[in-house]
């Protein structure tokens, strides 16, 4: 989560954005199309891909689009039935596995080795004539950059599969390393994660999807083209997968990303990435010194934009879990995220500062963690019974998993719990 500049919000709220209908004559929407087209060219430069669509409504939608393109590609070669497996890794985003399954793929998940990285030897064993493609995040949620990523791509290419790079979070690598140099066929960026568009409690958002020259005709329609004097929407894509979202995507998010990049420029983007990495490694250094905390894998090495830590020792020594610490952090106005399931790292917690927080804010956050750890060793009940200062007290989760008791709307609540 990074700073969403207020000026970008002012621009996105302009009637020139808000009051424009997507089916207007393209001559009356040249401003919107120009922004979309130019952001496409920026993202091409940032990734090395050859064409982007802004249509997917989020990262998962972009992953679904990647899986769909992989399917359509093999279908056009008469191999769709045969190639029915997608390979991913356990520290890739859950949607890399889940969206592939929506397209009917059998999902093969590679696990980490002792360094926390997916094993290239395991990949070699996993590929076959059934391999449709690879969907992989890098750096993974551990914040460790997979140095063998190009070899992964080669192995899958040799087996006849396509490779999709989940770059939803490219916070640490802008201007440093690109999908193209690693050999990928597809990649996507979350404009709401890497390029500052606000998350809005979970959308609206954009998963900007880019492809190599060879795959442009598979993109969802329409794409924005420039004819020398005017921008237009092209539906003329021979192998198109069709659509993954209405119209052309979330234009306000596209506009905010465009503005963010224009404010920073090439040098600023790289600076944002390197300070995100600086902030992350500063936190890593501090957390390693906190009693009960550890940073599994890649001992003695630095990380990119985030780290998945562990409270395993804290739990062993005090009984305090990640969940307990999370609830206590709320008392100080801090959010601590555990991780996606399954919890491969025991008692996981994941911190990503991005470039946005100042050193003072980071230090304050760390002080919060230190205080709670102190409490855990001296007065564990203090942590166990948190939160105290949050707007709400400890929630009873038992009703949320019980069909007889759950209430997803007020009227359902009245029916189930306030019987008249």
């Amino acid at each position: 989560m990074k700073y969403s500049p207020k000026i970008n919000e002012v621009l996105a709220r302009s009637p020139k954005v808000a009051e424009v209908h997507p089916l207007q004559d393209v001559d009356t929407a040249q401003g919107a199309l120009e922004i979309m087209y130019k952001l496409d060219t920026f993202l091409q430069e940032i990734s090395g891909m050859k064409k982007f669509t802004m249509q997917p409504g989020g990262g998962s939608s972009a992953i679904l689009a990647m899986a769909s393109i992989i399917y359509a590609y093999h279908e056009s070669r008469g191999e769709a039935d045969k190639r029915d497996e997608i390979i991913t890794t356990i520290f890739s985003h859950p949607s890399d596995a889940a969206a592939a399954a929506v397209k009917g793929y059998k999902v093969i998940t590679l696990y980490q080795d002792e360094d926390g990285l997916p094993d290239v030897e395991a990949l070699k064993k996993a590929v076959s004539e059934r391999t449709a493609g690879l969907l992989i995040t890098n750096p993974e949620d551990t914040g460790i950059f997979n140095p063998k990523i190009a070899e992964f791509v080669d192995v899958v290419h040799e087996a006849g599969g396509l490779c999709g790079y989940d770059q939803a979070n490219a916070n640490g690598i802008l201007g440093i390393t690109r999908a193209n140099e690693a050999g990928f066929d597809l990649c996507f960026f979350n404009l709401h994660k890497t390029f500052s568009s606000p998350h809005g409690c979970g959308g609206p958002a954009t998963g900007a999807l880019g492809v190599t020259e060879e795959l442009i005709t598979y993109l969802p329609v329409p794409i924005v083209e420039f004819g020398g004097d005017r921008y237009y929407l092209s539906y003329n894509l021979l192998n198109t997968i069709g659509k993954v979202r209405a119209f052309y995507g979330v234009f306000p998010a596209v506009l905010r990303a465009y503005s963010w990049i224009m404010s920073l420029g090439a040098e600023g983007l790289k600076e944002a990435a390197s300070v995100a990495v600086l902030n992350n490694n500063y936190i890593l250094e501090k957390i390693k010194k906190i009693r009960g905390a550890s940073a599994p894998y890649a001992k003695g090495r630095h990380r990119i934009e985030q780290v998945r830590y562990s409270w395993e020792t804290l739990k062993e020594e005090t009984g305090i879990t990640t969940e307990d610490v999370t609830y206590r952090m709320a008392d100080f106005g801090f959010h601590l995220w555990s991780s996606h399931h399954p919890f491969i790292v025991p008692e996981p917690f994941t911190i990503e500062p991005t470039e946005s927080y100042s050193k003072d804010e980071i230090d304050e956050y760390l002080a919060g963690l230190e205080k709670i750890v102190g409490e855990a060793y001296e007065d564990p009940d203090r942590v166990k019974n948190a939160p105290y200062n949050s707007v709400v007290h400890k929630i009873d989760h038992s009703t949320l998993d019980d069909p007889e008791k759950w209430a997803i709307t007020w009227r359902a609540y009245l029916k189930k719990h306030k019987k008249k």
Partner: protein, 465 residues
């Protein structure tokens, strides 16, 4: 990196050299570049990216972006009769006020404890939509109607254990393309014909296609082409008799005057919330809803977050949290139901603000106003020589097909003439529904005054003379 270290940008506080030096010292490295040790040299970009000159001055950035945006014309400066999946409704000022609040706008993936408001506001959204739809379960919004209908059909297939779905062929092309891509290759998609005169689902064709493999039918009411599908009960009865589900797409704006699909047998209801207080945003205002009855076999098939209400450790206090989280891809990856991620939550909160402002009476008044104005528009348009509105012999809500078949001009040319008069004419249907002939889909809402409609009629008369 030397050059980069000089860069101090307000978005990057720790780019200040002194702070940076202190942090590097604490980490124990001399240069930020050392932190990238794991990225092999052959994968490094060895040059600066080729991007336009940066505009770090906020004023310069504003001038630059506004200059580009000034090339857009808006539905505020013109009169627009465009609909077709994105609609111009009035957006009460409070909707923008609430959705600009940073507590909602910039909130990310918080927990109920430090993001209580997000959970409660979306629960309120679910609850308000549930009243409107007369159903007990509504999801946290998905991307849009395209996704909501796609997921509703995948849910129907999982619930029934069947592998084929039927779709009324008056559906929007966009939704059809999305559904097809989302279903292929897992489900087969087959179209059901409509009656050429009324646009209604051809019940004979539906019966003929009702094989034991059919998981459900998807139809829309009001339809994409604007007419009201009054056979909802008969359609639902036919599919239910075959053990399949009735899946209905609905414009929630219509529900103040038209009974909700649940009242004529719908099992899964879906649609778009953009009309409920969200600006058009060049197509960026879409948000999809899915609603069902409160039965475990339905609830467990949602891929979306479902925020529920519960108790806390304090007597009498309400708390909120995820219902049946274990069904989601966040919990069990590819074993979960489809996938969940960042979708359109902020528009859900906005729709909640809108619905709570309008109330049942407001929604009824809105629906009536739209009906009256669209009726007036159809009547006046039909008085123009060679123009027929609506094309289908059925009642309509806010959208309707206007046929220019008996004029000498193509819709595309008519729209060019209208544009010169500051009017955005209806969407040409020539690509989507070529069989309808020279037709356009017009949309009239509460924002259109009698004067606006009269201006359209006058402009058309002039153009078709």
């Amino acid at each position: 990196m030397k050059k980069s270290e000089k860069m101090v940008h307000p978005y990057i506080p720790n780019s200040a050299p002194k702070v940076k030096a202190k942090m590097l010292e604490e980490i124990g490295v001399k240069d930020v570049d050392e932190l990238y040790e794991d990225i092999p040299q052959n994968l490094r970009l060895k040059r600066e990216m080729d991007l336009p000159q940066a505009l770090p001055s906020e004023y310069a950035l504003k001038r630059h972006v506004e200059k580009i945006l000034s090339k857009n014309q808006t539905c505020q400066d013109n009169i627009s009769f465009l609909g077709g999946g994105c609609w111009q409704h009035y957006v009460p000022a409070i909707c923008d006020e609430i959705n600009q609040r940073s507590e909602f706008l910039t909130a990310y993936a918080g927990e109920p404890y430090e993001d209580h408001g997000r959970f409660q506001a979306l629960f309120e959204y679910e609850s308000l939509m549930a009243e409107l739809l007369d159903m007990d379960v509504v999801n946290v919004p998905t991307y849009d109607w395209c996704q909501a209908s796609s997921t509703a059909l995948r849910m129907a297939a999982r619930i029934t254990g069947r592998s084929e779905v039927l779709i009324s062929d008056t559906i929007s092309r966009e939704r059809l393309l999305t559904i097809r891509n989302y279903c292929v290759p897992v489900l087969a998609v087959q179209m059901v014909k409509h009656c050429p005169d009324t646009g209604l689902v051809d019940l004979d064709d539906l019966r003929a296609k009702m094989t034991p493999d059919i998981a459900g039918i998807y139809f829309e009411n009001p339809s994409y082409l604007g007419f009201i599908e009054h056979q909802g009960k008969s359609i639902s009865d036919i599919v239910h008799k075959n053990g399949a589900l009735s899946v209905v797409g609905v414009d929630p704006v219509s529900l103040g005057v038209i009974i909700p699909p649940s009242n004529y047998g719908a099992d899964i209801v879906c649609g778009d919330i953009q009309g409920l207080g969200v600006h058009m945003n060049y197509g960026g205002g879409q948000g999809g809803f899915i609603a069902t009855r409160d039965e475990e076999r339905f609830v467990m098939e949602y891929p979306s977050r479902l925020f529920g209400i519960t108790k806390t450790s304090v007597e009498g206090e309400y708390g909120f949290g995820d219902v049946a989280y274990e069904r989601t891809s966040f919990a069990v990856r590819e074993e979960g139901k489809e996938f969940v991620g960042t979708h359109a939550a902020l528009w859900g909160i906005t729709a909640a603000v809108y619905l709570s402002l309008m109330g049942p009476k407001g929604m009824q008044e809105l629906g009536k106003t739209i009906m009256q104005r669209s009726q007036y528009a159809m009547k006046k348009l039909s008085e123009i020589k060679g123009v027929k509105a609506p094309l289908f012999d059925s009642p309509h809500f806010k959208e309707f097909v206007v046929s220019f078949k008996d004029t000498r001009k193509r819709v595309e040319d008519i729209n060019k003439s209208l544009l010169e008069q500051g009017i955005f004419g209806g969407k040409s249907l020539s690509t989507e529904f070529p069989e309808l002939g020279n037709c356009a889909l017009y949309c009239v809402t509460e924002v259109h005054t009698k004067d606006d409609i009269d201006r359209l009629v006058q402009a058309l008369e002039d153009c078709l003379k």
